[in-house]
Amino acid sequence: MAEKVLTAKDYRTDVQNIWCPGCGDFGVLNAIHQAVAELQIPPQDLAVISGIGCSSRLPGYVNAYGFNTIHGRALPIATGVSASRPDLRVLVAGGDGDAYAIGAGHFVHALRRNPNLTYIVMDNSVYGLTKGQGSPTTPVGDPTKSQPFGHSERPLNPLAWALALEVTFLAQAFSGQVKQLKDLIVKGMRHEGFALINVKSPCVTFRGNQEYNYYREHGWNIDKDGHDYHDREAAFRITQEKERVPFGLIWQDENAVSLGKQLELEREKYSKVRQYDNADEVLRTFFA
């Protein structure tokens, strides 16, 4: 019997969705459903892991082994999954607070380790689940629930940050352009190593309904514009862009060794100097 061809529909679940109407995360969810269908990943071999936040509810809405974990810890949890089960495809989802505030320490080290996973950050510049506080990417001056006279701290630039940390796959997308986002997710999941996709995903509830228009007007499709994603300097220039919002694949390094590969090499190395047939034989190393 021929294998059943999986479609986006096969990845939907009946868990009740809690997102607000108009939330950018719906576009991300659609793009994920389409991307994993395009890749024909059997649902049982797909792990979808998130932290805490509106966007972190996403694993419940994907027919996969889903894990909505704790705030800021999606990356180390996903690292544990990816390192221990290299046979799985690992997708990590979360928001900008989860990734760049409480999870910032792990973000740095996940990039350094380069585990084989794709991290989709739904960046809406606000804490939605706790109802409207400023986030690490809120622009200066924007009023928030926690800073009613305007956000005073400078926003961080996740693209420049990740690139400086030698991320091996870097892209930015807009949840209003599902096709490009889907293509980037497919590429990210084919990438051997850590793929970061920062998705501008508007929060209509706490940041108004003008952001969709803003990204449509100021969006800059670098894929179409002929950007060479192997050109590191050009990639850096893109991360410094002020007038336009770049969307597309910014940087990819296919030659970096992934964590999974590194662990395999380590296992080979240790096996050469630890020649036991079984764990019982390890006891003899203790004899005086």
Partner: protein, 587 residues
């Protein structure tokens, strides 16, 4: 008459090589059937500074570090100064010290006990006879071997094992120094039988510290994922597993912090691979949130806490038993289990029991070890290990396309079969949110009650399956001692001595701390009129825990506790027994 129990201490500066010397003595003696219990002690300096090593050698498995030092070797009195409160000299003890040290020994030794002092030209012999000043520790080894009757062939073998292959010249010089020390002792050293350790002629013993024993237990239990962050005194676990796990297809990752360490393990275990992490009090504090997640999501996980003096940085190199309430606490009601090894050998078994418990009951399980167990080396019989190997696999569901898999299906035991990624039709959503049977999040308080009941039901099974405790002394004694962890050693030896004095006393040392191993505890408490809880916790945490959680306690339920750092001595425990079991002497 030769002796069969000897406690030896060597002290010097970091470069003097006292640790190596003590290590050689431990290994040589253990290879010759003599049981050693070896403890290292260091000054706060990263390199150099003072260091000391204490080796208790005995014909029987030593239960404690020994109350008194019989033989002390000092390279430098100034370095020795730091250790004076750790070295209780026995009256008449032999004290060998560096002749060239300008300090006066009397300034560093207790004035109220008689000692046998002898200056030895360690430095001079190493410099003039051997030509390598650094070999003075091997000169000392030769001196000690001659005076105390150590097996010299085995000691030379230990030297060869360390240097022979890679540095044959160094090996030759060290052997030369050893022989020079021996020759000096033959001419000038005391020659008395009461200083000589009788050979035990026994089987070859193995040597490990508690952290290594625990790590080996984890390997045997099937743990294949370990992530940890360096912290004294838990780091040897990381080191050992890094050497051994990869060969077995496992993964070891040095995490960026303890939060990453434990959450990586949560991820690995969720993905179906047995996982463990280890730390000490402050690091465990950082892990508490993830333990709540493992509890809520019912994910098997083993967490080791090698306790040290706290709170905060405390005294990293000394033991305490004051993380018990932390281990009990958590946030929310998290059904979990707490195990505690009582010695090095126990670490091996407790690790396997803890992993088994976590897998069978799908819960976080904490092992509370401590610095004295974790970092001390003991000689042990090899045949006591492999027969205890225990592996438990978690229940996997039987999946069928006709019905939707219910990850958290209600059951009497509270355990519901757990699907792991890769199993077709087992897809479900895991979360730290309260959930229904399918795993879907819910904020229904009714579900929270039902699921809390389900999770808590597991504790009954844990108490039945893992109730194990050690009981010592007279079963029918009316006075009993309860303690846990590394206090066992001194308590057990004190009980043996008390029995020699005709006193009736019993001790109960549970390896399962939570849930209360009520079956074995009630059995122990039968006929006890007075029970005392001994612990290294200023706040008497174990005593208060038992008072709150255990039943069948006698009316006279007493606490004897103090802050950690300094262990209870055998004599101290014996005094307590003499005081409290006196009524039975009359009876």
């Amino acid at each position: 008459m030769k002796i069969n129990d000897l406690t030896l201490t060597l002290a010097g500066s970091g470069g003097d090589g006292v640790i190596t010397t003590g290590d050689f003595i431990t290994r040589a003696a253990s290879s010759d059937g003599i049981y050693c219990l070896t403890q290292m002690s260091y000054g706060p300096q990263i390199r150099g500074g003072e260091s000391s090593i204490r080796v208790r050698m005995s014909h029987k498995q030593a239960q404690s570090r020994g109350d008194f030092v019989d033989s002390l070797l000092v390279f430098s009195w100034k370095d020795y100064k730091r250790f004076t409160d750790e070295v209780e000299l026995r009256p008449g003890a032999l004290v060998l010290y560096e002749e060239a040290d300008k300090e006066s020994p009397a300034d560093f030794l207790p004035a109220d006990i008689e000692l046998r002092l002898q200056a030895v030209p360690f430095k001079k012999i190493a410099q003039e006879d051997v030509g390598v000043p650094l070999t003075k520790n091997m000169v000392a080894l030769g001196v000690l071997a001659e005076i105390h009757g150590f097996n010299q062939e085995r000691l030379k073998q230990a030297i060869m094992d360390k240097y022979g292959k890679k540095r044959p010249e160094a090996a030759a010089k060290n052997i030369e120094a050893f022989d020079a020390g021996k020759a000096w002792a033959q001419e000038h050293g005391p020659k008395e039988e009461r200083l000589q350790l009788e050979p035990n002629g026994g089987e070859r013993l193995l040597v490990m510290n508690g952290d290594e024993a625990l790590a080996y237990g984890a390997l045997q239990a099937g743990v294949r994922y370990y992530a940890g962050y360096p912290i004294t005194p838990a780091t040897p676990i990381l080191h050992w597993l890094q050497q051994e796990l990869p060969r077995f297809g496992g993964t070891v990752i040095q995490a960026e912090d303890e939060i990453s360490a434990i959450t990586q393990c949560v991820g690995a275990s969720w993905a179906g691979v047995k996982a463990m992490t280890a730390s000490s009090g402050p690091g465990i504090a950082l892990m508490m949130e993830a333990m709540g997640l493992a509890g809520m999501a019912e994910i098997p996980l083993t967490i080791v806490n090698v306790q040290r003096v706290g709170p905060s940085t405390g005294i990293p190199s000394k033991p305490e038993q004051a993380d018990l309430l932390q281990a009990l606490g958590m946030h929310g009601d998290v059904p979990h289990a707490i195990f505690a090894p009582a010695d090095v050998e126990d670490c091996f078994q407790v690790a396997m029991e803890a992993v088994a418990c976590s897998e069978r009951y799908q819960m976080p399980v904490i092992i509370l070890s401590d610095q004295f167990i974790g970092e001390r080396f003991e000689s042990l019989r090899g045949d006591r290990f492999l027969e205890r190997v225990k592996q438990v696999e978690r229940d996997l569901p039987e999946l069928s396309p006709e019905r939707k898999y219910q990850r958290y299906a209600f059951s009497e035991s509270g355990v519901s079969p757990m699907a792991v990624p890769g199993l077709e039709g087992g897809q479900y959503i895991t979360s730290g949110l309260e959930h229904d049977e399918s795993g879907a999040p819910t904020s229904s308080s009714e579900y929270h009650q039902l699921m809390s009941d389900k999770r808590a039901a597991k504790l009954k099974g844990v108490a039945e399956d893992f109730d194990f405790a050690r009981v010592y002394g007279n079963k029918d004694a009316e006075f009993g001692i309860i303690c846990w962890g590394s206090l066992k050693g001194a308590v057990r030896e004190a009980i043996m001595r008390a029995q020699d004095e005709g006193l009736k006393v019993a001790a109960y040392v549970p390896q399962l701390l939570y849930p209360v191993p009520q079956r074995s505890l009630s059995e122990f408490l039968k006929g006890k009129r007075k029970v005392m809880v001994l612990e290294l916790s200023h706040g008497a945490q174990f005593y208060h825990y038992l008072k709150g959680y255990a039943t069948d306690l006698p009316e006279e339920f007493l606490s004897h506790c103090r802050a950690g750092g300094h262990l209870f001595s055998i004599e101290e425990v014996l005094k307590l027994i003499r005081t409290h079991s006196v009524s039975e002497l009359v009876a």
